[in-house]
Symmetry: C2
Subunit: 362 residues, 2 copies
């Protein structure tokens, strides 16, 4: 099936992508929640449009350059889930605000003042969500009273429009059981909705409560009251999703395709996917650097930049020249390494999908 694919490369099963997207959208709609997917796993216009056609309410980007690229292709409702800092970024955000509906987040007085100055300069308030620290301590103000105090401190900035709250519950990725994922999801709900209630009582508009990740968005029956989830990884899934039981092998739509280039003996082979294809990202739930499709018992024990070290207790079922597909530990970092992905449908290459928003220097 991979005969025509030059390696190392990245392929995506397009039918499976559509299924993954529809499933997540339907699940969340049941609880009144819309999906605003984070495009960080794909950085591609093709997949962003597919997400919108499967029900997404706009998209989420991490970088201004990603949002600019998506806007260039006509996507007109974008949330930038990152604290934008710096005059260069303000200048560009201002230009983007003239073109499309864009909002961002704020988690410091410094950032709020920059954004407000921009809003005043261009005569259009900057729509922001206040970031609440979901426990990872990577930014954000404390929930409840901490968030109220922060909101009060930026309330009078004339160029800002506080529209709601944003939350990233990254601690969920340290859990290992369904009970743990659900408990973290309930925590996310309580802190997000509870903080919004305090703020509403003080007269703040809380139109957007943005939470969710690829685990909690699957436990969304506990998230009622929030308005949007920013799940990203669910479009492709990966070894982490597999290992936690949130997906089965077939639902992992993104794979690295690699050629066996050497066999050291019956139990050890070298493939042409190394750290420049698979990255050195580990999965907390499973050792090694990926999951060989159809052969989860085979181990990828080490990566050099262009070499993957493969071994197995049983004799390896591969010979030099064979092509194998690997589900990566962490799908989100693979498309970022290539210019184009092979899009596969019904076992054939349907199209080459450019990764337009990768590799930007800002």
């Amino acid at each position: 099936m991979y005969d025509l694919i030059s390696t190392p490369s990245v392929v995506v099963e397009l039918e499976q992508v559509t299924e993954n997207l529809k499933k997540m959208d339907a699940l969340n709609r049941t609880y009144g929640i819309r999906v605003r997917p984070h495009i960080k796993p794909h950085k591609s216009v093709y997949f962003a449009l597919e997400q919108l056609s499967c029900g997404a309410r706009g998209i989420t980007c991490a970088k201004l350059s990603e949002a600019e690229t998506m806007a260039d292709y006509g996507i007109d409702d974008i949330f930038i889930a990152y604290p934008l800092i710096g005059e260069d970024k303000m200048e560009r955000l201002g230009r983007l605000m003239q073109r499309i509906r864009v909002s961002t987040e704020v988690n410091s007085i410094y950032g709020a003042k920059q954004l407000s100055a921009l809003g005043e300069r261009i005569g259009k308030k900057v729509a922001v969500l206040i970031e609440i620290d979901g426990g990872l301590h990577r930014g954000g103000v404390p929930p409840y009273e901490g968030a109220v105090a922060f909101a009060d401190s930026i309330r009078d900035l004339p160029g800002l429009e506080i529209c709601g709250l944003m939350y990233y519950g990254g601690l969920i990725y340290a859990e290992t059981t369904r009970e743990g994922y659900e408990a973290q999801t309930k925590r996310e709900h309580d802190e997000l909705v509870g903080t919004a209630e305090l703020l509403r009582a003080k007269g703040y508009r809380m139109d957007v409560l943005s939470g969710g990740n690829s685990y909690s968005a699957r436990c969304c029956k506990y998230l009622e009251g929030i308005t949007e989830v920013r799940c990203g990884n669910y479009i492709f899934n990966d070894v982490a999703t597999l290992a936690t039981g949130f997906a089965v092998e077939q639902e992992c739509a993104l794979r690295a395709v690699s050629t066996v280039v050497c066999k050291m003996d019956d139990h050890h082979a070298i493939i042409d996917a190394g750290s420049k294809t698979l990255t050195t990202d580990l999965c907390g739930h499973r050792p090694g650097y990926g999951w060989v499709v159809g052969h989860p018992e085979i181990r990828i024990t080490k990566l050099n930049e262009e070499h993957g070290f493969v071994e197995s207790d049983e004799p390896l079922p591969f010979e030099i020249g064979d092509k194998i597909a690997i589900i990566p530990n962490h799908a989100c970092v693979l498309p970022n390494l290539v210019d184009k992905i092979y899009g596969i449908r019904n076992g054939r290459i349907e199209r080459m999908i450019p990764i337009e928003a990768r590799g930007r220097y800002l």
Copy 2:
């Protein structure tokens, strides 16, 4: 100094690059060895041409797509240090051989037969080095008698021309002392030169003995008798080079520039360089994800995709909005993540350097 640089981004100190290149070339010439640098750390035409102007004898690539790109810009003497496997690669290698002087390596009968068939088809023998396993077991035949037996097994293939040997002494990166680096370099010398002697005695031409890495090429007084070193990382250096004492901070020419986007408290900050800028590559000699220039005591303890977690026992000397430069653990994987690098000279941006040979899907 980084005022005009949007972050996160990658910058290179151009004067330092030239110094690094000239120093390595001069050192090796003393022992009759030429540098054929591996372009994997930069994948850029600008830096490849700089290497040639600083004395390099051609260049080394890992991928056919890299060699094709370099040939497109007029570089006409390229060694592809990777076992090329697959009909698609044969087809392209054939086209490349019509344009420039190109050689590659072979480490299996399977690969040798493919290359020979190509040579017969295009009426031009494929120049190959036999790869000797330098101890890493990532490909290559055993030194001495093992290499002789392999050479004999492919000697009569009509489309091949055996020109010498290639060796990658990757075990050197597990050493931690100068004595260890020197011992591995002596081993590299002995296995490479000793194997070549056996082969010469049987009538093989051994014009090219290709060895060297960024550590052993610095211990090249032990390498006399080999003809070329394929060092790559020496162009930039990184935390690994620093930690081993082979370079000082100033000689680390490649840096990630990042903005402080949040301060959680006096001792904890978040920067906008995460795993999509610095990668998750670790350095065996030092914990954390990079070396903050001028502040080696500051720790980068964790990376999310667009967040770096910075901490220090003393109060951090940074405020939100400040830009900091980080020497990465492993320089070779950074330019691969971006389309362009900022080239800095005398504290000013001199040029944007495109990374032409990155992101290729084959």
